[in-house]
Symmetry: C2
Subunit: 160 residues, 2 copies
DNA sequence: ATGTGATGGTCGCAAATGTAACTAACAAGC
DNA sequence: GCTTGTTAGTTACATTTGCGACCATCACAT
């Protein structure tokens, strides 16, 4: 019978690897900081792209818009971020981390970075290069490559 | 401020890529065959390892045991698989695809394979090699490498 | 200005999910 | 035999999720 060899089937491998990594990371920001996965992603995205809209965050982090909406609400209630109306387009609002949000973020980052280091420590330099090249190509194929138009557009809205 | 660069943060990239792939695949087995993600995984695992126990499927496919239980139930109701008690250990049951289940499976496989082909078509042979090597190493580090003991043990139970 | 369609974001509700408790069966010690 | 501890699988309940409907706003045409 013609059948798939799951161990070599790329989508399967991707999913398993992603699940394993997520699981281990959740132990960090979940247990220690009480964040859900979408909350952490929104936090990280806003730290890197301050004052983005919910839509931008969702597109960038591949999060469904209701997930973003709920995560933003939760982070807002905790005072980790605040919302700022865009006078140019009153449908959307800019999101920005509060001082508290930033403080928490910089506590979490080193733990995340350490995790990645541990992961990459097992790779020879040559293999690591290989890994990153593979991902770059994969993202290209999947249409996930950092969309310059998206970021450009976000800039424009902020009037930069 | 010290912060992560999400575009280069491995866990983030893994998740995004996996999500994008899952999304596209679900369009195939979901819309066309009415399968959920866990159902499809159970189906594929049983096709490759006929007559496994639910536990084996769960461990192999990184699925929570309640997910497996429910997926098996659904597939059973559809008569895509049947359960067979293990007389040596009456707590567990062997799962096997029915004729109908196999028929459906072989319909789905080519579509999955075609999807992967399309994905890999964008890779130079050198890059593809790179990709697979990277994943092999990644799985090693994450402890996902095909666990020979697991499969061995499954064999033993079946009395092979 | 008014109508038409599109967009950002929220919300209700049904479906999917995870945790923990549970049942039934095994295994080892006494 | 009995007791204790463990394991395979199911189920109850609470949480999370996604779809669709929704509102307010904008963009553009007439």
């Amino acid at each position: 019978m013609k059948q798939l060899d799951l161990e070599h089937f790329l989508p399967y491998r991707l999913n398993r690897a992603a699940a394993a990594v997520s699981e281990q990371l959740r132990a960090v920001y979940g247990r220690k900081y009480g964040l859900t996965i979408p909350e952490w992603r929104v936090l990280a995205t806003l730290a890197q792209f301050p004052c983005s809209t919910a839509q931008f965050v969702g597109r960038h982090a591949s999060l469904h818009k209701t997930k973003v909406s709920r995560a933003v609400q939760a982070l807002d209630e905790r005072r980790w971020l605040y919302r700022k109306e865009n006078p140019q387009d009153r449908r959307e609002e800019f999101l920005e981390l509060t001082k508290l949000g930033c403080q928490q973020y910089v506590l979490i980052v080193p733990e995340m970075a350490r995790f990645e280091e541990r992961l990459l420590a097992a790779f020879e330099p040559e293999d690591a290069r290989c890994l990153f090249q593979a991902f770059a190509r994969l993202e290209e194929v999947l249409g996930l490559s950092p969309d310059p138009a998206l970021i450009q557009d976000a800039r424009r809205k902020k009037g930069v």
